[in-house]
Amino acid sequence: MDLLHNLGIGFGVAFTATNLLYGFFGCILGTLIGVLPGIGPVATIAMLLPSTYALDATPALIMLAGIYYGAQYGGSTTAILINVPGESSSVVTAIDGYQMARQGRAGAALSVAALGSFFAGCVGTVIIAAFAPPLTELAFKFGPAEYFSLMVLGLIGAVVLASGSLVKAIAMILLGLLLAQINTDVISGTARYSFDIPQLTDGIGFVVIAMGVFGFGEIISNLGQPAEHREVFTSKVKGLWPTMRDFHEAWPSVLRGTALGSVLGVLPGGGALLASFASYTVEKKLTRNPRIPFGKGAIQGVAGPESANNAGAQTSFIPMLTLGIPPNAVMALMVGAMTIKGIQPGPQVMTSNPQLFWGLIASMWVGNAMLVILNLPLIGMWIKLLTVPYRFLFPAITLFCCIGVYTLSNSTFDVYLTALFAFIGYMFYKLGCEPAPLLLGFILGPMMEENLRRALLLSRGDWTTFVTRPLSSGLLIAAALLIVIVTLPSISKKREVAFSED
């Protein structure tokens, strides 16, 4: 069967020494930044992108992928033990997980989280392997009009399924798209918005924006808040293995969470965060008479979201790998990494670079296995890291960001631009404008413009081509429906409730 043959290629690639090493390194790094609050996968991947120059494409992508799903594991550790979610997707885990820790059941919570995540990760990998080829076939039917509409759907979906003001999020997308217009027009060769600065004729590097707005913006806002006192439960972590009763209660949640996460991860704007929130809501509704009520240490409240966020993280690779469309900010950076290595992301990656494609997928399974091993026994070590005072950490983060930006093209201009974007990023934070839609719009900008112009060229200036072609109009209708659904008063209330559940 094709699936087995492809997975065979993949495992053959994944089990080479180099790839295992880089995967391991990615998983460790991912767990590390997942444990540390104040730095997330977006900033880390942005920081490491320049160093992927020295690596081959396959180990580089394996490492970056390991960082992403590794961060999901690490985030749950701190969420359970000290009620500080290291990752935004671990916010829901903290609700019941921390309560379980206070009752001395931290071990059960941690192992359920790790095992549930592992199960979800395996399922997610199989789903990617199974669905990638048919999706790629579908993608070949896409013309420029369809790609444009798909990107519109992707961008709209990304903001609709997130929290915050919808109008401002769409405006941020537009701003990102506009910032991407600072470049040399491909078709006519005109340098746009370059103000006679030569370094701007190639545009602003997306790493500059990512680090400036995400990395530094967050550091600055963290520094603006006073340090808090936290209870740490390291001494009480004993009895790692959950009881039979815990198992019995948790496994339906794991299955539900995995299913939900797999679906939501593929959607634009989806991924780990949305999956975990949705799973918590679903578990609350579906678990009748939990032994311990939700919010007071129900194991279902840990098992479901943890499986969901891992499944979501895995399946969010699907749109990126098959269609070349990133569904969220992290995938957008992976697209950037592939472009740096000279690989054009899109449906042809599967046929032109099968080792890379299947090797990456197989390495996710290997990575999940490594992470279970890393997380369960080594929890004490991760917790020790949290005792490093922030005042040592953030200069280190600043340093890595600066060096990373500089080494992109040995350009100090890029460093100055990053300083500017750090300022802008902080302003966005103060004004309540979310930066993720901006990054998404920025990455998709050139592709959208190219497809728009090509579609218009092919249709001789007829804008109705986007609605007369069936696939394209279907996508646009879906985007419009999403906006309508979210602006309905009843749904917008539910959306607020879902995001203020902590």
């Binding site: 109008v167 401002k168 537009l174 746009r192 200069p395 100055y416 300083a419 007829d462």
Partner: protein
């Protein structure tokens, strides 16, 4: 006219201003093919639009985007002046010290790296950025600087073999 939501007011204003700036810039670039001499192109806006769309020029997409941004920015502004929000949705105080320190730190890194090399720039960067935090203890900062300078050299220059000047121009 009372500002009901401070954050939305300033965001909306920012969007409108940025949109206008980009729109004005876009008009400097070609929108599409020029009017052919025997075609009455200026007669109908839609006809002209469809003529331009057949061969979109460099300014086409940016102009459209910036106009959309201005419209959305106006919507956000309008909402900020009419719709009530809790406590006026204040922008809140600015963390001026971390902000200026970080911006200065990054800029000095940019200014110092090429002439002075990694060995001098990293300690300065650590020193400046440590000022952004709540506490500043000399011993800790110096230790941190030493560790990170060595670490940066090991990881980036020796490990990843990146081309970064290590010593000042008058040395190596």
């Amino acid at each position: 006219m009372k500002i009901k939501s401070e954050r939305d007011f300033w965001s909306g204003l920012m969007f409108v201003v940025v949109g206008v700036v980009f729109a004005v810039g876009a008009t400097h670039y070609s929108m599409g093919p020029a009017c052919p001499p025997n075609d009455p192109c200026a007669a109908n806006l839609w006809a002209r639009l469809s003529q331009l769309s057949a061969h979109p020029g460099a300014g086409y997409f940016p102009l459209g985007l910036s106009l959309l941004l201005v419209i959305l920015g106006a919507v956000v502004l309008f909402k900020s002046l009419t719709i009530e929000s809790e406590g006026g949705d204040k922008v809140g105080s600015f963390a001026w010290r971390p902000l200026t320190v970080i911006v200065v730190a990054i800029s000095s890194f940019g200014a110092m790296l090429e002439p002075l090399g990694l060995a001098l720039t990293v300690p300065v960067l650590i020193g400046i950025s440590s000022l952004a935090g709540d506490e500043f203890h000399w011993k800790g900062v110096v230790a941190n600087a030493v560790v990170l300078t060595a670490g940066a050299w090991i990881i980036f220059v020796w490990g990843l073999k990146l081309t970064i000047p290590v010593w000042p121009w008058f040395v190596g």
